[in-house]
Amino acid sequence: MRSHPIPPQFTKSDWFPIAAALSPLLVFALLFVLPVTRPATTEFVEDNWGSIAGVWGLGVIISVLGVAKGARTAATKAVSAEQVRTALEELEDAAEKCTQLGQFARDQKWDLVHLRAQEVMVRCRTTVERWGGNDALKDSRNKVLQVATFMRSIVEETHSASVNRKIILDAQLNSDEKLAAVVGKIHREQESGSK
């Protein structure tokens, strides 16, 4: 079976807990090496080996828990970064389609406007559902939800007998602004997170 390399975020801080777990051994080794402390240390170890082993075991468990917690945090961050990257791709695609929608509306190609509006609406809904209930994204979710609603209204408008081009273009422009704001915010957060 092929082994995958361990990501650096899982390994870079591992030496500290290992050193912490082994540090009592170092102290005892020193005490054994020094002729002055050797008899007392031997006697202490013989009398209390159970307690020493217990305390050392507890230390090892705490270190292992610390490493596991760090690994879990790193894994959560990796999943969150992946979610943001996927959302960014979807929203950039939605923004591009929204701009195309404007061009089709100016050319009064209502079938294409209808199609693009549906595509942007689906992208927006999928993104909001994927983001879940993260409070930090509330404002962005509101914007994306509004774009989805604008797109739905554009779809409805293209069904009407006399399509109102101005109102469609206004909604498209508003959607473009909102999508650009959300995409810009995600880019800023990605850049500040990578520094």
């Binding site: 509006a117 962005s140 979710r141 209204s153 408008e157 109102n164 109102i167």
Partner: protein, 110 residues
Amino acid sequence: MRRISDQELINSLIVATEEDRIDWQPSGTVDQYTASFGGKWTLVIDKGQNSSGDDIFWLDVKDSAGENIVRLTPYDDNRIPALFEMARRFALKIDQALADLLKEIDKAKK
């Protein structure tokens, strides 16, 4: 869980709209205004005409998937046309335009 009445919802929306706490925006269709909240909920208030040419109003509350969870009409609460007018004034920035107009009229007086 406590049951929320239609009147309670409309009351809350009217107060919030009066206090400019709802960012109503014109949608992509005539006489329709929308606002989103909490990253989950979307309000859509709409005006149309029935077959005899009378104005009809309705308010939809949608979830994040775009599903309508509540639809209220003036039969449920007769303040819906007033809420529509408030949403329209906010979305089209009518009060700001009128304030600007009054300022210009005052300037012309001096």
